[in-house]
C-alpha cells in the first residue's frame, strides 16, 4: 500500500482518532488498514447507525467514517443525530451508493464530505486532510 505522510492532530501531535461505521466487517477492516497508513488510530467500530451514535458519545473520535446503507438505522440519519448532539463532529460518508440526491442529503444533515466505494486510499487521504483542516497537520508540514 502507498506511503502517506502521517496526519496528526495539530493541538497535541497525536494520531487522528477514527470511528469506523459499516455493516461489513470486511469493509471496516479495509478502512482501518487504510487509515493506519495515514498515521491514524482506530478507536472504535460500529455495524449500524444506532451503535454509531452510542460509540460516538462514548469515544468522541476526531473523524467518523460512516457507511450509508446499513441495517437498523442508515448512515445519513445517524450522522444527523450525531451532528445535532455534537455540532463539531467530523463525519465523512463512505458508501458505494453515491447518487447526487444521497450526497446532498448527507451534506445537508451535517456530513462534511462523501467518498464513494471502492475507496481509493489517495482520495480518502486528501479528504481526511481537508476535513481536519486547521486541526490537523502532516509530518512534512504540508498543512491540512
Amino acid at each position: 500500500m502507498e506511503k502517506f505522510a502521517p496526519v496528526k492532530r495539530s493541538e497535541d501531535g497525536q494520531p487522528v482518532r477514527y470511528l469506523i461505521v459499516d455493516d461489513s466487517v470486511f469493509a471496516r477492516k479495509n478502512l482501518a488498514r487504510m487509515v493506519e497508513t495515514f498515521g491514524g488510530q482506530v478507536i472504535g467500530e460500529a455495524g449500524d447507525g444506532v451503535s454509531a451514535i452510542s460509540e460516538y458519545d462514548r469515544l468522541t473520535p476526531d473523524i467518523v467514517l460512516m457507511d450509508i446503507t446499513m441495517p437498523q438505522m442508515e448512515g445519513i440519519e445517524a450522522a444527523e443525530k450525531i451532528v445535532r448532539a455534537h455540532p463539531n463532529a467530523r463525519i465523512v460518508m463512505v458508501s458505494s451508493v453515491g447518487y447526487q440526491e444521497n450526497i446532498v442529503a448527507a451534506l445537508q444533515r451535517g456530513a462534511r464530505h462523501f467518498v464513494q466505494k471502492p475507496v481509493k486510499p489517495e482520495v480518502l487521504y486528501e479528504v481526511i486532510k481537508y476535513v481536519m483542516r486547521d486541526d490537523g497537520t502532516t509530518a512534512r508540514g504540508a498543512g491540512a
Partner: protein, 166 residues
C-alpha cells in the same frame, strides 16, 4: 428486460472488479434465465425497492472468491476462512450494485437498495414474467464471477420525466 436497467450493472462490475484486482475483466456470457437460479459458489443477494424492484445475486466460484478476498483484503486468505470469504463477496456485491444504483438514480430512476445478505441456499427464487433474470458471467484474473439480475420497472419513463423537469 430493459437493457438501460442492465447496462449500469455491466459497467459497474467491469470497473469495480478491474480496480479491485488491478487487471482487466471481460464479460464472457450473457443469457436470459427462466429457471430458478442455482448457486455456483459463494454468493450474496441484494434487494431493490421503489420504481425498480427485484433482486441481484452476485455469485463467485469458491476458488475465485478466496483469491478476491485475499486481493481486496491485502492478506492471505484460505478456503477455511469461510466468514472472511463470504464477507468479501458481500462487500464486493455492495460496491458493484451500489455503483450501478448510483448511475441509475442519477438517470432519474428512484429506488432504494437494501444491505447485501449472504445467499446460502442452493437455489434462488424462480423468475417470473415480471422479473426475468439476466445472468452475466465475467472472466477475471481470479476466476469466474456471475451476476443474476431480476428486476422489474414500476415507474414512468425516467428520461421523459427528467426532460420535463428540466
Amino acid at each position: 428486460m430493459r437493457m438501460d436497467l442492465i447496462q449500469p450493472f455491466i459497467n459497474s462490475a467491469d470497473a469495480v472488479l478491474a480496480q479491485g484486482l488491478q487487471s482487466p475483466v471481460s464479460i464472457e456470457t450473457l443469457s436470459m434465465e427462466e429457471e430458478a437460479y442455482r448457486r455456483k459458489g459463494v454468493a450474496a443477494e441484494v434487494f431493490l425497492t421503489g420504481e425498480i424492484e427485484g433482486r441481484i445475486i452476485f455469485d463467485v466460484d469458491l476458488e475465485a472468491a478466496v483469491q478476491l478476498a485475499s486481493h481486496l483484503g491485502g492478506v492471505e486468505v484460505s478456503e477455511t476462512d469461510d466468514d472472511l470469504v463470504r464477507e468479501a463477496v458481500c462487500e464486493l456485491a455492495n460496491q458493484i450494485i451500489g455503483n450501478a444504483v448510483t448511475a441509475l438514480n442519477d438517470q432519474g430512476f428512484h429506488f432504494h437498495v437494501r444491505p447485501p445478505t449472504q445467499h446460502t441456499s442452493e437455489q434462488g427464487s424462480k423468475s417470473s414474467e415480471d422479473t426475468e433474470a439476466l445472468v452475466m458471467g465475467f472472466n477475471t484474473s481470479s476466476g469466474n464471477v456471475f451476476m443474476n439480475v431480476a428486476l422489474c420497472y414500476h415507474g414512468g419513463p425516467a428520461v421523459e420525466r427528467s426532460a420535463v423537469a428540466g
